[in-house]
Structure formats: C-alpha cells, structure tokens
Subunit: 237 residues, 2 copies
DNA sequence: GGCTAACATTTGTCTAGTTGTATAGTTGAT
DNA sequence: ATCAACTATACAACTAGACAAATGTTAGCC
C-alpha cells in the first residue's frame, strides 16, 4: 500500500495556507529551514513539496531571497459579461488562448436548439485552450451560427480573444443569457490538455450568449481545472 | 518442535543490549545493514526483529534517520497548576520546548469563547513541541489574548517555558479551570513531530487557564504521545 | 549622499547513508 | 504439496551534511 508521501501532505498543507489567505499573493514564505522545523522533516523534504508547488505555478523561489506566493487560484466571475481575457487581465495575470481545432459543420439538435437554428444548419466549432500566465486553466468549446458569422473562423485564428474575433465580425457586444455549472472528473484527454492528473476535479459550464438584439451568437461549453479556478457568481449586474 | 526463529533471537539479543545499557534511551541503533552483518543474516530478518521490538514500544524507526531506543513513559499530573517544565523536572528529567510557529491572528469562534473574547479579536498562537530528555513528548498549541499580553510573542521566543513567559508579561500565577481529555490517532504531521508512527494513539487535552482574577489567559490544546505519557489526575492539587 | 566591502541569510546542488516496500526465489519442516 | 522462514535484489522516500551561488543588510569610508 502506497501511503501518501510526507512531502505531498506538506505541499497540501502549504497550499491550504495560501488558499486560506495566511500567505498573501506575492508574500514571502518562511525560509525552508523554518518550514522544515515546523513540519518536523528534513529540509530536502520541504524542498520536494515546494518543487511540486512551483511546478503547479503556485509559488516561485529566488535563490538568496526566498520563496514567494505566485498566485492564488484565479477568481472567475460569471455575470452578464463573461470575458476570459478581461477577467484575467484585471487580476494582473496574462491571458492567452491556443486554438486546438476549428471547423464548420452541421449543428446537432442540442446546438441548434441553443442557438435558435434548425438542426443541420452550419455552425463554426471552436475548440481551444485558455491559459493564465502560461498555465492551462480551461478547455473551451464554442459553437457559433455560421450563416450569421461567415468570416468568424479566420477571425478566431488571428485575434487574441473570442470577444475580439466577434467584434471583427460585427458583434460589438454580447451578454450571457444562461450559465449552467456542474462538477466532473477529468478524462484522460482533458487531463492532458489542462496538465492535471486524470480524475482531478473539473468545473464544467454550459452557456448561451446573445447579442444586443437577443439573438443567440454563442453556445459554449467550458471545462475549468477545478483547483486553478474559483467561479464566482457576482451579486452585481 | 518448533525451533525459535532467528529473528526472535535477534530481537532478544537487541533487547538485552538495551537492557544492559549498551544503547541508551534515545540513542540510535546501528543501521539495519550493519546489524544484519553482525548477526550474519539478511536485512529483512533484522527488520523482522526490529518490527517486533517496535510493536512492544521498545524502539522506534524514522525513515532515513535510523532506529532509536524509545523513551520510558512519564507521569504527567493534571491538577490546578499544570506546569510542563516543573512536572518533568520533578521526575528528574530535563524538559525543553521548541517553538514550531508563533503568530498573531484573529480568534476563531471557539477560541474567542474559551478566552472570553469576541470572535476576530487578536490572539497570539503558539505552536510548540515539548521534549523530555530530548525526546518529543507532546505537541502543544496555546492561544493567548493579544490585547492583554502584547509582548508575549517575544517572551515565548526567549523564555524556556510558558510559565516564565507569562510571568514576564505580568501574569504571576495562573491556574487551570478545565481540562478535557480524549483519545485520537496521530495524523501524519503529528506522528512526524512526536516521532511515533502514523495512526499511533494520542492523548488530546483541551484546557482553559485563568489568572488569579479568574480572567482566562490561555486556551490550550495539547497532543501527548500516548505511549510516552500517563496523565494522572491527582486527588490532591 | 553614494559607494564599496564584509557579513548573514537563503536557495540550489551534490554526495552519501538509512529505512520502507515490493517482488521473486530458496530452503526445510510437517 | 504446502507453508513459514529466510535470502536476494531493486527502488522509493527520507535524512544528513556540506558547499556553492544569489540576495539582502549593515557598517564604514569618501
């Protein structure tokens, strides 16, 4: 029976400390020597734990200076206007997206219903990976009505964000009509893309967004890495 | 006729060595490899002997460090005046304490209630390890009202005992109002500090102490290594 | 003030040693 | 044949200590 190694429980304890706000973002953790005393282990064991946390992008060490908290799990507000890039930029993190697949095909029954189309109508399908500070945060799939937005594929390829691509295609503004949230376990493929372990918790959201006229423009399915994001449903707007 | 197994005779030989004082309490036994050479057997056979001795509480192994002769249990009287250092000194053992963590933070509901404060009031939190003859005996957490004892943190760092630190801060005497005792199993971290194995029995006490005016000054939580201490509730006090 | 030198602190890396665990095989008695 | 005791080997997890490299701090000097 493989018990959980000590270093792992230390990593969990420290991660928890950070999540609890005991060490704030950018703050310096106690030196390794002090931590090893606190946990009653050798310094190397603490280092193993810190290495794990560094790999996950949670802390960052500077030789001679100390170990610093890199980032708390990103808050991801879900309201009327859900904008991945803007949400992250507001927290001082660098957003990026990576296109995994882009195609135009016939809409399924579910997709057609969500977008107010007839089944079989052409839709653009965007599969992408959303990153924060280079760390994968979410897998996103977005379905758009192809007849309404004929040039969207090229725009999605070139623009940095979906919002920007839609703007190029004439959708100046759009708001979210509905968001559904459930919890899942990561499949092998999802785990690979999000760089988490298979079976790790995942937040899955399904959303419908519409332009200012109320015409649906996007049907989205997003899988968030559960331990890197906290979805917040704001009281405002 | 079942001949006595080799491992059993090895256990007897080693037990005898300890009884003869060839290895003192707290001392490190030779590494398993060396012992297996000495007895001319495989390392696993020595391990079988050491496992038996560990089960009897005679020795305790720390991965990567070695096998150590366990300490004899100490009596620990709980009465009106509970003083770790004095208790042990009276038994002719050398007490010591080791600060694991020291911080000031807002009181939880439970802590505030015990100390007669409002939740969120500042408290000093002391996490420490209590040793007898260099052997860890108990993990102690003590919560003090910070507003009443502003300089306690420094005092705790410098003074040898909590009693001494409190005296420096103006608390000449204090008595125990209440002590609750339950049995738990050691968590991984506790086991590491107390140098016992994970899942070993632990005595947990929760206590409230007050000064001569009856004002609570300390809310304590202590975890004793179950096989190293015997709590005694004296008739006297 | 601004500069350098010296010192202490802290992380990075390396080597070596020790216990924990798993797997597979041998031996001998019943 | 079966089972317990023991051997053999390998690797993982953790300890221990030492030193190098980068950083932060302080004192002294111009």
């Amino acid at each position: 029976m493989a018990r959980t190694p000590v270093w792992k429980s230390i990593a969990i304890a420290l991660t928890d400390d950070i999540a609890q706000g005991r060490y704030e973002t950018g703050a310096k953790l106690p030196p390794e020597a002090q931590l090893s005393a606190r946990f009653g282990v050798n310094r190397h064991t603490v280092r193993r734990a810190l290495a794990e946390m560094a790999e996950q992008g949670l802390v960052h060490a500077r030789r001679g200076a100390g170990v610093f908290v890199a980032a708390k799990p990103a808050d991801y507000p879900i309201g009327k206007r859900v904008r991945f890039h803007q949400n992250l930029a507001r927290e001082g993190r660098t957003p990026a997206k990576q296109v995994l697949m882009l195609e135009t095909r016939a809409a399924s029954v579910r997709e057609a219903e969500a977008l107010g189309l007839a089944p079989g109508d052409p839709v653009h399908v965007y599969d992408g990976l959303s990153l924060a500070d280079g760390q994968p945060v979410a897998l996103a799939q977005a379905i758009f009505p192809a007849e309404r937005l004929p040039d969207l594929c090229d725009a999605l390829r070139e623009e940095a964000s979906i919002t920007a691509a839609l703007k190029v295609c004439g959708v100046a503004d759009y708001t979210r009509l509905e968001t559904r949230i459930t919890a899942k376990l990561a499949t092998a493929t999802q785990a690979l893309h999000l760089r988490i372990s298979e079976g790790a918790p995942i937040l899955r959201t399904t959303s419908i967004s519409a332009d200012t006229d109320g015409t649906p423009v996007e049907f989205g399915r997003t899988w968030f890495a559960g331990d890197r994001v906290t979805l917040t449903v704001g009281g405002e707007d």
